[in-house]
């Protein structure tokens, strides 16, 4: 093969990919060259000198290209006079290195000794102790004893909060700049920097609030020492005491692969709790990164105070705690009386197995309507048609490729996608962002197009008519991915937008192949799973319009999401609620049944790239909570609708038999792992952290209809009437904030300082007209609710529209764009 080259490591020949970094190449060949500053995901900087090796090259005759031989017939090697850093070298044909000579050993020993001159003897209390590259490399390559005078050791501040979430221990930092480079190169939030020089050099944050980034936790993972610790895990446990359980992030459509580090805890009655959440390598999904919401948003799994602990049923006017048996009998009785007028609304945190049992139950009782919650994003069927092809990896996008992001604030909706597309942009991909207002993604865009929110559903018309050059660049790209959100559109508008996006892709032939197609920022972890199992937002609309007698509300916070819910729920006779939380019960709820969170049971989600991924049981149940599928299955048995089922894996087998998209998928297939590059998270921990290793499975991507040559046709775009504001009204555009007050996030108290107070962003011109100044309290009446929030007059909203983030106050913001009154409160 032409793209491999022959290199020699310690006199053995290896074929490695041409141009690969030497450290990585050696690692593939089984030779771990020690590193501190080098990280396979980042550009080498050659700062620490730990990777020194003897290096030379085989001499060839310039004219003939023949290898020159010495007197003994061995190839002539020209050695560099001094040791070279392996991390700044890319392999080329005939490269020769030696890693086991006395000079190399001496160099490694010297570097370690040098680093330790100002490192504290802190291992017993250090969070990294036990999985620390500096510890390991000192044991392996360091001098046995120190020649330094202890009293000369630096004494620095050991508790410097860089922000609310990350603490710096100044003594421990070895100044490798991995954290700074991560923030700059990978996250794109350039908020860390070196301050001063030499022995006074320190890491500082230059943002306000400190360390203002949604990816800050990753720096603690890649820090080769314990200099950076997270507020969540600080002193939580020693690494060797933790049990790693593979799981999937329950918060967004990326489906980040995570590892839950579990340990028993006295404060929680001796139960196992999540001590920390670490990324688990899946190069196609989240590589080795996770957002801070994924990392710090797990506390609801253990929060006995907010979780519903036992079933509740309403008898007369009272809501009573009861046993499962009574509760199920009671619910079954209600269902029997419904005479087939049964429907369900399921949230996007329900696993595929839960949704399957819910569907079996509702259809078994003669119901038909299966609603997906929240009913904001349409077009999951189109993602199933022309979604990104099997084998898509956003990490492959680069020069010649293009990404179009439309109607989404990607950083707030799916931060990991935003991180990966930022890097695609750095690699040369064309990134086009279309929205009604500026978003963070604009910083990483080649072209930004702002449209009038009233025309959001017609964004693609605008693109083609008024931005022909950009449209041509997109259609002419080698690969094209479109990521669509639903900001500024209602459900009908969302459908029109998605259909236009699908048509755009089909027309230009960017479907049915890897790295081409449609993705959508469905809220929650299982938006695509809802679609595949038959739950649609259109059915939800129908349920709202014609409420059934008995309604299941499963893991959906209707009242917090939708101001109109209170009124239409009144028309439902019986509500059976499956819920994690002991919140105020939905008015009229007949039975509230406690279900288990993702950490308490097995299950699977389908992410926005249609990858089915499974999560494993990590902790025991809270209270008497059961997996939702089990509750529903027991109800079904009670009603004589089926046999009792014992495990989630059996349900997956059933799903695979009945739903073609899941054909062939089993828990075993989902647990399959293959070696991934870069080789991180192995027994060596040079690359930081031990939890990266993926032992839980890479998941299986469901093929899109267009994959494997499937024919897809364009559909008709039914553009709804534009939503206009008239008579002094303004358009109220609900938007998503990553850190908010949703129930699943409310228990994560450490992030509270970062959750913004409820606000609305207004344009200066509109504010002036209404006599509102920055910081004033304003009252917004729209979509059946009235909110009092603070006005931010700061250029974040276009004229004629206000941006109202959802889930920041207890009063729900409207579900979709609508016209509303804004006035000074």
């Amino acid at each position: 093969m032409s793209d491999t080259v022959k290199i020699y490591i310690d006199d053995k020949a290896y074929d490695v990919p041409a141009g690969m970094n030497l450290v990585d190449a050696a690692k593939m060949a089984g030779n771990d060259i020690p590193v501190f500053c080098y990280h396979p995901k980042m550009e080498p900087v050659g700062m620490c000198r730990m990777c020194l090796v003897e290096m030379g090259s085989i001499q060839k005759d310039r004219a003939s290209g023949e290898v020159l031989l010495d007197d003994k017939g061995n190839p002539q090697i020209r050695w560099f006079p001094k040791l070279q850093t392996a991390c700044t070298t890319n392999v080329s044909d005939g490269l020769v290195i030696r890693t086991n000579t006395p000079q190399v050993d001496q160099a490694r020993e010297n570097v370690v000794e040098f680093l330790l001159t100002s490192h504290p003897l802190d291992c017993p209390i250090c969070d990294k102790g036990g999985e620390c590259p500096l510890q390991n490399l000192t044991m392996e390559h360091g001098p046995g004893s120190s020649r330094m005078v202890y009293s000369d050791k630096l004494k620095l501040d050991k508790h410097v909060p860089l922000g609310d979430l990350i603490f710096l221990d100044e003594e421990r930092c070895i100044q490798c700049a991995r954290c700074i480079r991560f923030q700059d190169e990978i996250a794109g939030d350039d908020v860390l920097a070196f301050h001063e020089r030499g022995r006074s050099l320190q890491i500082i944050t230059n943002s306000d609030p400190g360390f203002d980034s949604y990816f800050s936790g990753n720096t603690a993972d890649i820090c080769p020492v314990g200099a950076l610790t997270t507020a969540d895990f600080r002193f939580g446990a020693r690494p060797w005491e933790l049990t790693e359980v593979p799981s999937i992030c329950p918060h967004d459509a990326a489906g980040s692969n995570i590892s839950l580090s579990m340990r028993l805890d006295r404060d929680h009655g001796g139960r196992a709790i999540i001590k920390r959440v670490m990324p688990r390598q899946n190069e196609n999904v989240n590589e080795i990164w996770i957002s801070d919401k994924t990392r710090f948003g797990h506390h609801f799994t253990r929060d006995e105070h907010s979780r519903l602990l036992c079933p509740l049923v309403r008898r007369g006017g009272n809501f009573n705690e009861t046993e499962w048996k009574t509760a199920l009998e009671y619910a079954a009785n209600e269902l029997q009386l419904a005479g087939g007028s049964v429907a369900a609304i399921a949230g996007s945190g329900m696993s595929n197995e839960d949704l399957w049992e819910l569907r079996q139950l509702v259809t078994g009782l003669g119901g038909e309507r299966l609603g997906a919650w929240p009913p904001t994003h349409a077009g999951a069927d189109l993602v199933a048609q022309v979604g990104v092809g099997q084998g898509t990896n956003l990490g492959d996008l680069g020069k010649g490729d293009a990404v179009l992001i439309v109607a989404s604030d990607l950083e707030e909706e799916v931060p990991i996608w935003r991180l990966r597309i930022k890097q695609a942009h750095d690699r040369g991909a064309l990134v086009v962002v279309m929205n009604g207002r500026p978003t963070r993604m604009d910083d990483f865009a080649s072209t930004v197009i702002h449209y009038d929110y009233s025309k959001a559903a017609g964004a693609f018309d605008l693109l083609q008519k008024e931005h022909g050059d950009t449209a041509r660049q997109l259609t002419g790209a080698k690969n094209l991915v479109v990521i669509a959100g639903a900001e500024g559109v209602d459900l009908a508008g969302s459908r029109a937008l998605m259909q236009a996006a699908a048509n755009f892709l089909i027309e230009s032939g960017h479907v049915g192949k890897p790295n081409n197609g449609l993705m959508a920022t469905f809220p929650g972890a299982n938006g695509m799973g809802q679609y595949y199992l038959g739950f649609t937002p259109e059915a939800t609309q129908d349920i709202i319009a014609n409420p059934p007698k008995v309604l299941f509300i499963a893991q959906a916070d209707l009242l917090f999401d939708d101001p109109a819910a209170v009124s239409w729920l009144k028309q439902v006779e019986t509500i059976i609620q499956l819920t994690l939380f002991a919140e105020e019960p939905v008015p009229g709820v007949t039975a509230a049944l406690p279900i288990q969170s993702f950490a308490e049971r097995d299950g699977s989600f389908v992410n926005g790239e249609r990858r089915v991924q499974r999560f494993y049981t990590a902790q025991g149940p809270i209270g008497q909570a059961l997996p939702a599928w089990q509750v529903l299955n027991r109800l079904g048995v009670q009603l004589g609708l089926g046999r009792s089922k014992l495990s989630a894996s059996i349900l997956m087998n059933e799903i695979a038999q009945s739903i073609p998209a899941f054909a062939g998928i089993t828990y075993k297939a989902l647990a399959h792992v293959e070696p991934q590059f870069p080789l991180v998270g192995g027994d060596d921990v040079y690359y930081g952290g031990t939890a990266y290793r993926n032992k839980g499975g890479l998941g299986v991507q469901i093929p899109a209809a267009a994959d494997n040559g499937g024919a897809v046709t364009k559909g008709k775009v039914e553009k709804p009437a534009a939503i206009k504001a008239s008579g002094g009204q303004l358009l109220v555009v609900p938007a998503t904030r990553l850190y908010n007050r949703e129930r699943v996030f409310r228990s994560s108290e450490l992030v509270h300082p970062r959750v913004p107070d409820a606000y609305v962003a207004m344009n200066a011109a509109d504010a002036r007209k209404l006599g509102i100044e920055n910081g004033d309290m304003v009252s917004i009446s729209a979509g059946g609710s009235t909110l009092k929030v603070r006005a931010h007059v700061n250029g974040a909203a276009p004229q004629g529209a206000v941006i109202l983030p959802r889930h920041l106050s207890d009063t729900p913001a409207p579900l979709a764009i609508t016209a509303g009154e804004v006035s000074k409160a």
Partner: protein
């Protein structure tokens, strides 16, 4: 003949000092190295030596020790430095009195003392918690947690002496 030799042995020992004592009225001298019940020690200023590092738990071959750590502040300080043991328990039914925990401890906090009279009537009683294991604060010092002048105790592990 053999019978006589046997009796001779018996009679020889009759005249020797007895090795048994009248316990509990009498007690023996313990060797310094005797390994009895554990104690968690304090510094002279009353702060706890234990920093919650759980190295004792890692060293314990019987998995008898359970440590949970938390963070000190200058207002609520248990031990020098940032970390202290919030929970410290030893299950005396599992312990084999090997003393590995004592060897592992970086601050000489856990020490096997001379107390050997251990009795319990239930399994949970056999789990000795931190308040049982921790020795009294020395005369004139305040028991933990203490409120201290900010910045006085920022080292978890006492500074090492130079080897020379």
């Amino acid at each position: 003949m053999n019978v006589l030799r046997g009796f001779a042995t018996t009679f020889k020992h009759i005249l020797e000092e007895p090795v048994t004592i009248q316990y509990p009225e009498q007690s023996i001298e313990f060797q310094e190295r005797y390994k009895g019940r554990h104690e968690l020690h304090r510094y002279e200023n009353g702060l706890e030596k234990c920093i919650g590092c759980a190295l004792c738990a890692a060293a314990c071959p019987a998995d008898a020790i359970w440590v949970e750590a938390a963070e000190n502040t200058d207002e609520v300080r248990f031990s020098p430095g940032e970390r202290y043991a919030k929970t410290y328990e030893i299950n005396m039914m599992r312990c084999i009195y090997c003393g590995y925990c004592e060897d592992a401890c970086p601050t000489e906090a856990i020490v096997l003392g001379h107390e050997h009279r251990l009795s319990f009537t239930s399994r949970s009683e056999a789990i000795f918690t931190k308040d049982v294991l921790l020795v009294e604060a020395p005369e004139g010092t305040q028991a933990t947690p203490q409120r201290v002048r900010p910045g006085t105790f920022d080292r978890s592990i006492p500074d090492m002496e130079d080897p020379l």
